[in-house]
Amino acid sequence: MEKKYINLREILIGIMFMLLLAFVGARAVQVQIYDGPWLSKKASNQYEKSFTNNGRRGTIYDRNFREMAVSIEVTSIAAYPMQITDANATAEALAKALKMKAKYVLQKLKTDKKFVWIKRQSTPKETAAVKDLQLDGIDFIPECNRFYPNTTLAAQALGFTGLDGEGLEGIEFFYNRYLKAEENNYTVFKDALGNGFKAEPDTVTLNRGNNLVLTIDSNIQFITEAALQEAVNRYSARSGISIVMQPKTGAILALAHYPFFNPNAHTDFDKELWRNRIITDPFEPGSTMKIFSAAAAIESGTTTPNTIFYCENGAYRIGKNVVHDINRHGWLSLQQIIKFSSNIGAVKVGEKIGPKRLYQTFRNFGFGEKTGIDSPGETTGSLSYYKQWSNIDTGAISFGHGISVSALQLICAVSAIANDGVLMKPYIVQAITDHLGKPLKTFKPQKVRKAISTQTAIRVKNMMKTVITKGGTGVNAALDGYSVSGKTGTSRKIDDNGTYSTKKHTASFVGFTPSENPEIAILVIIDEPQTEFYGGIVAAPIFKQIAQDTLNYLGIPPQRINNKLRVARDSETRG
């Protein structure tokens, strides 16, 4: 073999290598320049994970800055299924650590998704157990969990949030945009094992939402709820609601519902219990409406508390219908009609002043319109226009039938009487503060309108005082050392077939104390009490208990002992 042939072939080999390297270089150009953007995007899809951090929701305080709802940081466990090599083993290990079903976990891991939640808001113990497993493709995402430290207290008023931290009910829903922290979108870079690099999630600052300061006083709320719970159980009632309000400001001190539910585990409770029924549910008020009929009569100028009406000895026919009184009365003054809660008397009052005036007065007291309270789902109740009323309608509406109102409307209207005729807008949040506690917005009491004249208000107030005196329907509401103005209510509920039930009643009592300078107005409604059903028997004692404890808690001194308004409570009257 001659060397020159070897040389020639060696040159050929050299050329071959140069061509191959040129080819490799050309391929590199193709991949890095032409396919570069596409490949780069594919790559970043794999190692970049975008997260939305909901931040930390603001705290809800009661009026004494006691925490009602707080957000606490928790960890959620997530997985990147693509990065898990042995899904079966991982699923089993996770299931064991989290006490979940392995099959369920495996199903989650076997999806095409890049990211799945394994367990939202796991307990610290669970998180530690999973961390100890050192599994590939498992991640720990910091989140915030809503916690209600007082469990059931004021639950229907507060509402609750969903897993994503959005308010779903109550104040949580209504003030969601204030409570909610600004969303924080951030990208985390993950290696193939799911470990973060660059920006770790826990180095991301949590935005914080604003705080709310409620008008609710958790002590009064507790007093109210305790009294309500006891009464509902004592009378085997279906449910009960109660409101405590400052008549002069419209600030709500307590909004109580029974049965309770625990917002920390709201899904364990019947959905029907979640609602703030005081605001959302209309009911037929019954006799408590007579005070507004009386107010309309006095305001009309044609009637005084001493104007007498003939009460037909217990039965009064209007067309085909007959209105009954429980006790037969002959002639009664307007004041007595209220005191004894005469239905026929109220009908006569309505007939005297006519539907237009009745309607207008009711409207002035806020019936048939929303109060505008800062809570969701408010009902207007139903108050049809007076021109559509028949004679029996006018009569029935005069004593609170054929009309529906919300409990909130009723307490607001009664508060207007207590407040010299000025209707106040009810409110539940008195301030919004930033996360440092600096006030951003404060809510002052708002006057809606003057519903009736001051003089009329005082006259009605005094008539309402007689309800609590001997022979009145509300003697059980009488307090030691404080004067009370109030009114009982007993209404039959409408059955499923559309007629008034003989068994299902709503017992109520509404009033305020002290009468001369009202500090608190209280409404108590007991739904379907079983053993007794009169408002004066079922609801009035609850009013008494709540009022007594609240006045005591608020440190409002009792009136002088020789005050005439102290009453003997030697008889129970019905009405």
Binding site: I6, E10, L20, L21, R27, A28, Q32, G36, Q46, D191
Partner: protein, 371 residues
């Protein structure tokens, strides 16, 4: 060729080899660190684990290069059979579980004391030396099938079947191609060479089809995006690395694919890590450096009067060149995945030291060629 002429040319080092090689080794040490730090930290608790070892290998490589530079290359004529025997012993030993070290389902390393050695790397050099020796010795007899062709193929088959058992299909292909090219240069009949290819084709197809992992790798190679989580995984992530790097690269240490996405980022896929971190610019520089080394190797072979020296030079160049081209093609998705390292850049002691030895030998040939 005589002793006087050796001595006359033992002065300097061939700068045209020394510069690109040291440059590549330097880049290699840096890139091995960049590529392996995350892996090392997770596996060994220190991100310097592979860096330290690679630095030691580099120093060992330089020492070996210096030694080989000064060892008269004609010495290898006498060493060709002993080396062949040594390689054979190692190749057999690696298959014995007590000596072999497995990784990723293949027994490719031999444990000797504290070190592990990759016998297939040694086998390649031994084969080159043997072929250069044998081709020179047989001269014109190469045209004869049984004398000039068969013995070389016989040695190849023994080596190949042993390496195949590891299994290391990539090295087999390299050895086969290397032998074929050397026979071509040495002057074997084209007829025989072409016939070999025709005969080998069905065997190759059978071998690919017979092992499931090879078949899957082929599928993954042909359509990687179809099998993104298994067969195509490596290719996809390698391509993503190149794509992310773009023209200028993400910067040293700033690549993402090495973070457990890319398997073997510091050995088989170091080229991809370079592609991501140093960009197309880095890739073209690396290719240029290899081209320089290969051209220089060919030039040394061409200008060496001594047939053994010439064949040895071209053989070493081919062995290195094949390794380079195949590794790059795999990284760029042009060839199915093989467990082959990139000379001077990939982590691995045997590969680095023996490639440096090859350069040392080439330098020695270079200094004596104009005799």
């Amino acid at each position: 060729m005589n002793d006087r002429q050796y001595n006359a040319h033992t002065g300097g080092y061939d700068v045209q080899l020394l510069f690109p090689v040291l440059f590549l080794v330097g880049i290699g040490v840096v890139m091995v660190y960049s590529a392996s730090s995350a892996l090392a930290l997770k596996k060994f608790g220190s991100d310097y684990f592979f860096l330290k070892k690679q630095a030691v290998f580099a120093i060992m490589g330089i020492v070996v290069l210096v030694i080989c530079r000064h060892l008269p290359y004609r010495l290898y004529r006498q060493l060709s059979y002993p080396l062949l025997l040594l390689a054979l012993v190692f190749l057999i030993a690696v298959l014995i579980p007590q000596f072999g070290v497995s990784a990723g389902g293949a027994a490719r390393w031999l444990r000797i004391g504290r070190f592990t050695l990759q016998p297939s790397e040694l086998a390649r050099i031994a084969l080159v030396i043997y072929l250069a020796y044998s081709l020179e010795k047989k001269g014109d007899q190469l045209k004869d099938f049984s004398v000039g062709f068969l013995p070389h193929v016989f040695i190849l088959i023994i080596f190949s079947s042993l390496i195949f058992k590891q299994p290391d299909f990539g090295s087999v292909v390299i050895l086969g191609t290397l032998t074929w090219l050397m026979l071509f240069i040495g002057g074997a009949r084209i007829r025989h060479l072409v016939a070999t290819i025709v005969a080998l084709l069905p065997i190759g197809i059978y071998l690919v089809m017979s092992a499931e992992y090879r078949w899957k790798r082929l599928l993954g190679f042909l359509d990687p995006w179809q099998y993104p989580s298994d067969e195509g995984y490596q290719i996809i992530h390698s391509l993503m690395a190149f794509g992310t790097g773009g023209i200028w690269g993400a910067g040293i240490g700033k690549g993402y694919q090495k973070l457990f996405y890319l398997p073997e980022p510091h050995t088989d896929f170091i080229f991809s890590v370079i592609g991501e971190e140093l960009g197309l610019i880095g890739i073209l520089i690396i290719i240029g450096l290899y081209a320089w080394i290969l051209m220089r190797g060919i030039q040394i072979a061409k200008s060496t009067e001594d047939a053994f020296g010439s064949l040895l030079a071209v053989g070493l160049t081919i062995a290195m060149g094949l390794q380079v081209v195949v590794n790059m093609c795999v990284a760029l998705g042009l060839l199915p995945t093989k467990g082959l390292t990139l000379p001077f850049l990939s982590y691995g002691g045997t590969s680095l030291v023996l490639n440096m030895a090859s350069i040392g030998i080439l330098m020695n040939i270079s200094t004596t060629r104009r005799a």
